[in-house]
């Protein structure tokens, strides 16, 4: 071997080693970013519950969104707004598309409030209501389960497919089994993260839409129609999905049969029998930072993927508890009063407060120091 060849080979080897080290470091850094939060799980207490006796239009609440100093709550009798210690209700008489408000999001850009109702999509902009329906616009369907604002676009998950509304061009784009990998048009949830839109498609798992390429792919349960999770962590726990939420590099997927988490490479499943999840029947998921908040039929579960804090109430009294699970250690903290009801449908958190929409009004908790 010539000397120059040896030098070349050495250089190549050195380059490979450098690339390998950089790659390993990057992977580790990336993995560290996705590691569960080493900080303590937030624990909320000092619950204050609001019902129709306090000014809510109804105790049947579906969703909640914190918007600066006010809180927006969707009920079956209109939109309730909590501001300066008082509730104010907006209904179809004020311009809502329908009194059943199932989903709320607020545009960070414009401050517009978007309300998904049982009778169409309402934009509440600086006091003015504007309605989009399947009849007066290109919106897929009037039954809207989820709405999110993604820059200038508004996405909805409806009973007739997912829809994207471009607020600049005022045009709708519809995604159903006709043009996307869905089992049927029924969609329950939608979220944005990492340049993608994740649609919870009923019976179709999760449909991922890459905004840049406008391409779809789907994630389904490898166990197919089986009601049990045959092989753990091999994919989605079930195809009947009820919500998606993306934060900190993780996609959280709610189903009526358990919880799934996806880090872009690996799936992990969580069930009530093998994790701290309080119930497999998950109505809604919202991830904020490293924590996922899971609204179930048996209370609220919160997790960082490893540790759990569950909030439940004794439905016959105002008392309840927070169950804290760290590894195998389980402790309970009495909550007097507790959350309003165990059937939780919506959640939102800000720095120090948490709001829950339940079947008996809304609950507000404060972060315990």
């Amino acid at each position: 071997m010539k000397k120059t060849d040896i030098i070349k080979q050495t250089k190549l080897t050195a380059m490979i080693i450098v690339v390998f080290i950089i790659g390993t470091l990057s992977y580790n850094l990336s993995a560290q970013n996705k590691k569960p939060n080493q900080n303590k799980m937030p624990i909320y207490g000092h619950w204050k519950n609001f019902t129709s006796n306090d000014g809510l239009p109804s105790n049947k609440t579906y969703c909640v969104r914190i918007d600066g100093k006010r809180v927006l709550v969707g009920t079956n009798k209109g939109l309730a707004v909590y501001e300066n210690g008082k509730w104010k209700t907006y209904t179809i008489k004020d311009g809502l598309a329908h009194n059943g408000v199932l989903a709320i999001d607020v545009s960070k850009l414009t401050g517009d409030v978007w309300l998904g109702t049982m009778g169409g999509l309402t934009r509440w902009s600086a006091g003015k209501f504007e309605n989009f329906t399947q009849l007066n616009s290109g919106m897929p369907n009037n039954l809207i389960y989820a709405v999110i604002c993604d820059a200038k676009d508004v996405w909805v998950a409806t009973g007739g497919g997912a829809g994207k509304y471009d607020t600049y061009t005022k045009q709708w784009e519809i995604f159903t089994q006709q043009n996307a990998p869905m089992h049927e048009p029924w969609t329950y949830g939608v979220c944005e993260g990492d340049g993608k839109i994740f649609i919870a498609a009923w019976g179709g798992g999760v449909v991922e839409y890459t905004k840049k390429t406008k391409k779809f792919r789907d994630y389904t349960d490898p166990d197919g129609k089986m009601e049990i999770d045959l092989f753990p962590d091999d994919g989605l726990v079930h195809d009947i999905t009820t919500g998606t939420s993306w934060a900190n590099g993780y996609l959280w997927v709610a189903t009526y049969f358990g919880l799934s988490r996806y880090d872009g490479v690996h799936w992990k499943g969580y069930f009530d029998h093998d994790s701290g999840l309080t119930s497999n029947f998950i109505n809604y998921v919202r991830a904020v930072g490293s924590i996922a908040y899971l609204c179930t039929d048996k209370g609220l579960s919160t997790t960082d993927g490893k540790n759990w804090v569950n909030y439940t109430t004794n439905n016959s009294s105002k008392n309840g508890k927070a169950t804290i699970i760290v590894g195998t250690k389980k402790t309970e903290l009495a909550m007097i009063p507790s959350i309003s009801h165990n059937f939780v449908l919506g959640v939102d958190v800000s720095n120090h407060t948490i709001w829950l929409a339940t079947s008996r009004g809304v609950s507000r908790g404060e972060l315990l120091k």
Binding site: L109, D112, A126, G127, K128, L135, N136, G138, Q171, E173
Partner: protein, 672 residues
């Protein structure tokens, strides 16, 4: 012999001439009678066949390239005027002292407004048909940059700190916020419908954005137009302020003390029979006043007088001492001078109930209008000199700037911008089109219901007792799309604008033939269709639009059945105008309509013509089929999925003027 031959030839020619002349004249007479719908219009071929040429040599011969000053602003030292020459696509830099044009700076297409940076070194010009703002270095008189906006930028304003530019997108009905450091649009807010004017209150730091068209309302409901209020500091929408029963709010201004915001507006009575024009009650002109304090009143006062209306209000400016407001009425060529202290007194000392009634009171203007000042043809934009002593008026169809002494309230001179001296027939027609003199009491001009030569988005009751309510039709491409009226009763523009027009709409003497010739020449040659930059910028259709095009042209439905020819979109709506120029039944005749078929409308730029159908019952294109297309009478659509219907609608929105589709087509010549 030779003389005999000559006599025979002459005799033969004479006989032949007579044989041709009399039947020929008879044919010509019949032709003219048919086209004009009268029996005595002079037999002049050039009326219709010469002055209506749109391209080629004759068009160049008979037309001129006018400037058409539209808006303007004044430099801080008062020495320079910056004038938008809309038809020349130029910004004119004018020496206010020497009264001459110093520079002509080419900008984008169909410029609308101009503002200056705080230091006066930069001018920003909104280009309504280019969807951008030209940034002009005034030291070199050159365009140095172009800022992308939304669709149809019109009014402009700078943020209080000068770091952001607000551009009102008239066609997109939103407001672009542009960061002047990064030159990027950072936000876009929804506004009222078809906004044009914007002003920043230096006191409240709030931006007010006008709107010209009404909000979509339930069919038959009174109109409402919105002001959009944006907080300049937080750059968030603050609120919308409704102006009931009013529209065409072109511009807005704040008093220097910030106590009032003023807008020009029009109050149409579109849902009552048009016969009301005889009672002085069809179309009023006024000012909207918004008190700038918590729970401040929103008031409308008419500037009209009982027997003299001041139609087509456009601009409003307020003197530096906050005592006077000046409003331009482009339909009557007048500036109205308003005493603002009188306005303040009326608002302060009148009960809310009475204020509401004053919105329809023609006598109130005598309490606050102190002077009417005659201007040149079609006054549009206004600007005050920094000391407030001079008012500059863009006399659009004179190519001049009128200058008014604001102390004596007299017009003291004009600045000739150097436009053509010859007034062409079409230019004369354009003046007539914009002038309300042909309506009873000057109530409205053609332009009022057809702003920008388009339509005003309202439905009108042109008959009586609620019968035959009709949606106003756009005048764009009107020359090539006869017949006219929804019933198609008028076979020519001439007939449409002739006797019938005066009989049913203006309630005054009809145009004389010379004026009618000019008006028709303008309508048939001078109206241009804006580009469709929102949905079809370059002719390349999106995937959805292409799918929609297939549906539009299809002959077989989704079930495999052959669609009857009359139920195919393309049958009644063939290109280039997307009308077969025939009458059809689309199943939308209402019980209060006469039993008629409907003239098939032109579909180019149809996205900008909401509401839809002959009486405006469909608020959106979708509603034509989702609400009113249940029986498939208006094309076969009930087999379509929602995605396919969206594709069809997206294709319809992409349709644009035939002149944009055919690059080889000779472009329409000149401005008028």
């Amino acid at each position: 012999m030779k003389a005999t031959k000559l006599l025979v030839i002459i005799g033969t020619l004479l006989v032949l001439g007579l044989i041709i002349y009399f039947p020929g004249r008879k044919l010509a007479r019949e032709h003219v009678n048919y086209e004009t719908a009268v029996q005595n219009h002079p037999l002049s071929c050039i009326s219709c066949h010469y002055y209506t040429q749109r391209t080629g040599f004759i068009s160049k011969l008979i037309n001129e390239d006018y400037l058409s000053p539209f808006n303007l602003t004044v430099s801080k030292d008062g020495r320079r005027l910056f004038v938008i020459a809309q038809d020349a696509n130029e910004l004119l830099v004018v020496d206010a002292d020497k009264k001459n044009v110093l520079h002509k700076i080419k900008v984008g297409i169909h410029p609308h407004s101009v503002i200056l940076s705080e230091n006066g070194k930069i001018a920003y010009v909104s280009n309504q048909w280019s969807d951008n703002v030209s940034v002009i270095d005034l030291a070199s008189s050159k365009v140095v940059d172009s800022l992308k906006t939304g669709n149809g930028p019109a009014g402009l304003a700078l943020s209080a700190d000068g770091n952001f530019l607000y551009a009102v997108n008239a066609f997109g009905s939103n407001l672009s916020v542009i960061n002047l450091k990064t030159k990027e649009e950072i936000n876009r807010f929804s506004t009222g419908n078809n906004p044009t004017g914007i002003a920043l209150s230096k006191v409240s730091k709030e931006l007010y954005v006008t709107s010209r068209r009404q909000n979509p309302v339930a069919y038959g409901e009174p109109l409402v137009s919105d002001f959009t209020v944006v907080n300049d500091s937080t750059q968030k929408l603050k609120k919308y302020i409704s102006m009931n029963n009013a529209y065409l709010m072109e511009n807005v201004a704040f008093t220097p003390s910030g106590d009032l915001a003023l807008t020009a507006l029009t109050r149409p009575k579109n849902l009552v029979p048009a016969i009301q024009v005889e009672r002085g009650w069809m179309m009023n002109d006024g000012i909207g006043i918004i008190e700038q304090k918590p729970n401040g009143k929103v008031v409308q006062l008419l500037i009209d007088e009982p027997n003299s209306y001041y139609s087509s209000l456009f601009d409003v400016v307020i003197s530096p001492n906050g005592k006077k407001a000046f409003l331009s009425s482009s339909g009557v060529d007048y500036i109205s001078v308003v005493n603002l202290d009188s306005i303040r007194n009326i608002i302060a000392n009148t009960s809310p109930q009475m204020l509401k009634r004053l919105a329809n009171n023609l006598g109130t203007s005598s309490r606050f209008v102190t002077k009417r000042i005659k201007t040149g043809a079609v006054p549009k934009g206004l600007a005050l000199s920094p000391n407030g002593k001079l008012l500059y008026v863009a006399e659009m169809l004179d190519d001049k700037i009128g200058v008014i002494n604001t102390e004596t309230l007299e017009k003291i001179y004009t600045i000739d911008l150097g436009g053509p001296k010859r007034i062409t027939i079409a230019r004369k027609g354009r003046r007539l089109f914009n002038n309300a003199a042909h309506t009873f009491q000057n109530q409205y001009a053609c332009y009022t219901c057809h702003p920008d030569n388009h339509e005003d988005g309202l439905e009108y009751n042109f008959a009586s007792m609620g019968r035959n309510i009709v949606n106003v039709i756009s005048l764009r491409e009107i020359a090539d799309t006869p017949p006219y009226k929804w019933s198609g009763k008028n076979q020519s523009v001439y007939k449409q604008d002739g006797m019938r027009f005066s009989k049913f709409l203006t309630r005054t003497e009809s145009f004389n033939y010379e004026d009618l010739d000019a008006l028709v020449a303008y309508i048939k040659t001078g109206i241009k269709l804006p580009p469709n930059l929102m949905y079809n910028k370059d002719g390349k259709l999106t995937e959805s639009q292409l799918r929609g095009k297939e549906i539009f042209n299809r002959s077989v439905d989704n079930l495999g059945k052959v669609i009857p020819k009359k139920s195919r979109c393309v049958t009644c709506h063939p290109s280039p105008y997307y009308t077969n120029l025939k009458l059809e039944d689309v199943g939308t005749l209402s019980k209060t309509d006469d039993s008629i078929l409907f003239d098939t409308p032109n579909l180019n730029n149809i996205y900008a013509s909401a509401p839809y159908l002959h009486d405006g019952r469909a608020k959106t294109l979708e509603e034509i089929w989702t609400v009113y297309g249940g029986d498939d009478n208006h094309g076969r659509v009930n087999d379509l999925s929602k995605i396919e219907l969206n594709d069809l609608v997206n294709y319809l929105k992409s349709l644009r003027g035939s002149n944009y589709e055919k690059s080889s087509l000779k472009t329409q010549h000149a401005s008028f």
